[in-house]
Structure formats: C-alpha cells, structure tokens
Amino acid sequence: MNEAIAAVGGTAETAPQAPPGLKFVTRNVCVFYGEKQALNGIDLDITECEVTALIGPSGCGKSTYLRCLNRMNDTIDGARVTGSLELDGEDIYDPRLDVVQLRARVGMVFQKPNPFPKSIYDNVAYGPRIHGLVTGKAETDEIVHTSLAKAGLIDEVKDRLQEPGTGLSGGQQQRLCIARAIAVSPEVILMDEPCSALDPIATARIEELIDELRENYTIVIVTHSMQQAARVSQKTAFFHLGDLIEYGETAQIFTNPQDEKTQGYITGRFG
C-alpha cells in the first residue's frame, strides 16, 4: 500500500472542466428519497480508463451517487435526481435518452452476487441476447467465453457451463456477475461494494481483476475498505452526510488529505 502511494505522488488539484479523457462530468447532483435529501449538490468528474473509488461512512450517499450514473435510482419509488450528469457530453437524465441503452453502456456489479437462476452460460449470454448483440450459437459461444475469460473465471467453469450459476461459490458468483456485465461491452462498470460479501482470497482475485479491467473500462467502485480503495483506485472521492468532502488522486487523499474529516475517516477516528 505504501509503495503504491509513493509511486503516484501527490497532485492536489481537482480536475479542470470537461477536458478530453473525462467520462462523466456531474454538477450539482442532488438526490431526494421522498422528502429526505440524500445528496446535496455533488460536483464530480470520473476519468476514463481509471478506477475511481467512492469512500465514506455508511449512509453518506456514495451508493446513491453511484446509482445515479446508470439511473438505477429510477427503480426506487419516490427517488428524484436533480443537477446535471453528462456521459461523454450527453445528459443522461435527458427524457429523450433511452435508459436501456444507457445501462448497456454503464454496467453494474452489486454488493451481493446476484446470478440469475439460470445456467452459467445463460447468465452471461443474457445481456448480449436482450441487446441483440449476437446472432446464432457460434457468436454467443464466443462472447460467453471471452467474457468469462476476461473475468478470470473460464478455467474454473469451462466444463460446467450448463450448471446453474447459483451453484458457484460466492467469489465465483461475483466474477460471474462481472463477466455478465462485461458481456454487453459496456464503457463504464459501476461496482457497489463488490467484495463486501467475499472472503479475503476471493477479494484479492476481484481486485486483481479490477486492475486488469482498467485498461479497457472506466470503473467506479464504492468500497468500505480503505485498503481496497488505496490498492485498486487512481482517484478517490470521500463522501460524508450527502456531501462530497474531498476528491483527488488516491495517493494524495491517503497521504495528505486536505480536509480534517477526510483525515479523521481514513485514520479511523470516525466512520
């Protein structure tokens, strides 16, 4: 951990307004659940092909923010989002935008592995099929295999693709869910505490995988583990009580936080 921090060094400035290389530009994002305000005007940019970690104590709004990025908050009754969220310069809350296509571009992996009660093969083939990305068996086979390979799962399951996905171990299930997300070829993968239900070995596998995926995908990860944020991310954003307290290079956040609250949280004084 220390080595990683030392290697990145500490540039403290927040990113400038919408230069190339920014995937998401969000300004003044507020989220209300009924009367209750969960996010109070968040300004945050997500850099392309990097891992951005969102940290903060429980109930600070980091998952809520994550769920804005592919409009998963739409599925919650009474949730309301205001402010501007742009993906590659397009407003993702534009009424003309098709949320189905947005979610195909911005995939999501959840806290608890949630494979569908189908075979491993069908779990991965599900996304490409509903988006019409594949025609015929050969193409499907190929996309299933490459996705499982990218998720580092192919060696473990290649002989039992027709067995139910729910029969895998927790870590394998989570990698299956990642494979399922990759299969739709998204540009961004959102991960909501992907390792919180996993043991340390499975966690290490997933972290390795995240590091490999960074080459081709923009990744936003919510995590409760400071070590995990330090290990896998390049940028870190610290949330507290619905506010974005601090955002910057991971190394800088962890070695030289500008805000007292950030320092208190990462050193374990509160949270």
Partner: protein
C-alpha cells in the same frame, strides 16, 4: 338424565379445586412465592386437572360402553320367544336378524324415553322397555357415583401432594401438550375417517359394479329400476364421460384463470403503482369471498343464456347448459386464487435479481420474462396445481350451470356433467343405500379424492422446494 348438568358440575368442582390448590400452595410457602418451584396458579391447575380429567375420561368411557352393555343385558333377559307387535308372529330371540334386532331396540328405546313407537307394540316390548329404563337409570347413578369418587380421589392426592418442591408446572405443561396433541390429531383422524367411509361404501359399490366397468366404461346412466317390472333404466356405470366432463370444464376454467390470474399478478407486483396495488389487490380478493352459489346462479342465469344467444347468432348450436358457461365462470372464480398466490411468489423473487437485470440494460418486460418468471416458476406451477384441484372439486357452479346428461364430448358448447354434479344428484333426496346409483357417489368421490390429493401433494412439494431456495 342430564349429562350437561353433570359435566357443568364437574367443571365447577375443577374450578373449586383450582382455588383450593392455589391457596394451599401459598400457605405451604408461608406466603413466599419465590420459594415455590412453580407459580401458585400451576398448583391450582394441577389440582383442577386431577379433579376433572380422570372423571371426564371415566365419563367418556362410560358413555361409550353403556349402550352396548345395556342392550346386551336387555336381550339376555328376553324370553325365548317374543312378539314384536300386538298381532305379530312369535320370533325366536336367538334367531332374530340384524334388522329385526335394530327395529326391536328402536321400539324399546322409543318407549323407554317416552316417544311414540312405530307400531302398536306387544307386552314383550313394553316389558323390555321397562327393564331398559331401569338399567339406564341405574347406570346413570353408578356413573355419577364413580365420577364423584374419581374426582374426590384425584383431588385428595393432588391436594396433599402440594409442597414447595413439587414440580407442578412440568406436570401441567405435559398435560397441556397432551391436549394439544389430541387436537392436532383430530383433523388427521377426521381425514382417516372420511377416507375409510369412502372406502367402505365404494367397496359396497364395487361388489355390485365391476371396477373395470366403472373406470373404463363410456356409458353413464345411473337411473336403476326400483321395481322389477319398471321399464328402461337398467343403469350403466361407466364413469369416463363424467370424468371427461370434469376435465373439460376444468380445462376451460384454467384457460380463463391461468393467463388472467398470472397477468394480474405480474401487473400488480411489477407494474402497478403502490396506490393502484393497494386498491386492486383487496378488490380482487373480494372476488375470492363471493360464495360459490352466487357464482352458480350467475353462471346459470346470466352467462349461460348469453353464451347460448351469442352462439346462436353466429349459427352455432349451443346448449343452454354449456360446458363453456360453467367453465368460464369457474375460471373467474379461480382468478383471485391464481393471482394472489402468484403475486406472493413473484414478490418473493429478491430485488437483487431485478437490479441485476436492469443493471444490464434489460427492459422491464425482458426482466419479467427472462428472470422473474423463471425464478418464480416453481411457485407459479404450485399455484396452478392448487387451482386445478379446486376446479376439479368445485361443486356449486357446476350443479347449477352444467348439465346432468353424461356426454362424452370435447365440444365446449355441449352440455356435460361432472363428478361433483353426479355425486350431488345421486346422494340428495331420499337415497337407498343398497342401490348402485347411490353407492356410485362414493366411488366417484373416492376417485375425486385421490386425484385432488395427488395434485395437492405435488403442488405443496413444488411450492416448498421453491420456498427453500430463497430463505
């Protein structure tokens, strides 16, 4: 001879025993309840149980055994030959048939209790009745004595046994759990009784009609001649048309109920806003509360004529008691059943499944079709099977709206009859229990019971398996 007063006395004695036992427990503990093993009320209950329970068991046993014993004694005291009626023939008492014995005993009991006997009875019967009444009175007095003695002995020992170390709570709890066991087996015993009665009567039927003819015959006309010189109606008991009728109406009902119920469930659980859901769901459940007899006349008086007229207007020949009308109304009756059960299983599919699917960019309908329904399928199958067994056993609608003639047909516009209809028509009125017409009802009932039992077992297993998966 008033049993209820006797039982009320027993209850009163138990209550007295309760208070005495409770007081004594307090006294033996010198007012320090914490030194007692159990709370004082347990000591009281223990005494009450010992007063009431042995006496009650004695009462139940006595009541069950006294009738055959007294009857035996009355028969034993009869002279060798008796007359039943004033002008009747002499009968050898040793050679009376079962029917004659029953008649004799009925007369004896009627006279003994002051009712009117069926015919002018002979002195023999009067003497027997007097003897019978004496024995009954004696038996009753003995029973009261025995019960009081049992209660007194129970009270004495339970009362004396009270001391601070006595484990009264444990005894009381054992007795209570015994009572609960008896209650829970009551339902099981009733089921066994129903099955046995079905089996015996069906056995009677199958001695008159061969099981092969019953199960595989295609001709059903249960009207049998009562006198030998009557014309026609020889009776035919091939049950296939009857079961085919049930099947036809059930299939029609399911064609209505399954898609409508399932769509309703999907709408309510996935699409409806909470406000809509909270109004529509209770309203649908009102549909389940409509008495089936109301559905019955709705089918017979509204739907059936409508179906007939609609069919006639497009040149179809539709019977006024068409299988279609009965089946459709039965389907409507079952809709809330299917939708409510399916709604439950669809709601039991975890939200994480939906999130996973939406997160991949699936639309709502894709999510329902590809993820939720497959996940909920076992539960839905269970719901449908339960609905089928309800449809098969449903009686009132078909009695009122389906026909009586057993047609072997798959045409929903014709009139068919069902198993339940035949059971009702063959058993209502003034049936004679030695004619195959009456007994056939039991054989039909037996087959129906077996079929619905199998369906229920399969359905419950399927539903159970499903539940284990997510909990």
């Amino acid at each position: 001879m008033n049993y209820s007063i006797l039982l009320l006395t027993l209850v009163a004695l138990s209550i007295v025993g309760y208070y005495m036992g409770r007081n004594r427990a307090r006294v033996t503990a010198d007012g320090r309840i914490d030194r007692l093993h159990s709370l004082p009320s347990y000591y009281g209950t223990n005494v009450a149980i010992w007063v009431g329970l042995p006496a009650f068991i004695l009462f139940a046993g006595w009541a069950a055994l006294q009738a055959p014993i007294i009857e035996g004694l009355v028969f034993g005291s009869l002279p060798d030959q008796i007359r039943m009626t004033v002008n009747g023939d002499l009968l050898a008492t040793a050679k009376m048939t079962a029917a004659q014995k029953t008649l004799f005993l009925n007369n004896v009991q009627n006279i003994a209790t002051g009712d009117i006997a069926s015919q002018a009875v002979s002195d023999d019967v009067r003497r027997a009745a007097a003897h019978y009444a004496r024995l009954r009175g004696l038996s009753f007095m003995m029973m009261i004595g025995a019960m009081l003695i049992a209660a007194a002995i129970g009270a004495f020992f339970a009362y004396r046994a009270i001391n601070p170390t006595m484990r009264a709570r444990n005894t009381v709890e054992r007795v209570v759990s015994g009572v609960m066991l008896v209650c829970s087996t009551l339902a099981v015993m009733t089921t066994v009784g129903i099955v046995l009665s079905l089996l015996f009567e069906s056995f009677d039927f199958f001695t008159k009609v061969s099981p092969i003819e019953f199960l595989f015959g295609t001709d059903w006309s249960p009207q049998t001649a009562i006198r030998a010189d009557q014309v026609g109606s020889s009776g035919a008991f091939g049950a296939i048309p009857v079961f085919a009728g049930t099947l036809l109406i059930t299939v029609i009902a399911m064609i209505v109920a399954v898609p409508v119920g399932l769509y309703a469930a999907v709408y309510l659980s996935e699409y409806a806003r909470p406000k809509v859901r909270s109004t529509v769901k209770p309203v649908m459940e009102i549909l389940a509360g409509v008495p089936t007899v109301v559905y019955g006349f709705f089918a017979a008086l509204t739907v059936a004529p409508f179906v007939r007229d609609a069919g006639n207007s497009i040149g179809l020949d539709v019977a006024s008691e068409s299988a279609l009308a009965a089946g459709v109304v039965m389907g409507v009756m079952i809709i809330p059943f299917v939708s409510s059960l399916s709604d439950d299983v669809i709601n039991a599919v975890p939200q994480s499944m939906r999130d996973g699917s939406y997160g991949l960019g699936a639309t709502r309908s894709e999510t329902i079709r590809e993820v939720i329904l497959p996940a909920a399928l076992p539960g839905i199958v269970g719901a449908v099977l339960l609905a089928v067994s309800r449809a098969i056993g449903e009686t009132m609608i078909v009695v009122m709206a389906a026909g009586l003639s057993a047609n072997l047909t798959a045409n929903p516009f014709e009139a068919v009859t069902t198993v339940t209809v035949q059971i009702v028509t063959n058993l209502t009125g003034d049936p004679e229990f030695d004619s195959p017409k009456t007994l056939s009802a039991f054989a039909l009932g037996l087959v129906l019971f077996v079929v619905t039992l199998c369906l229920n077992v399969v359905a419950l297993r399927v539903v159970q398996k499903y539940r284990e998966k997510y909990e």
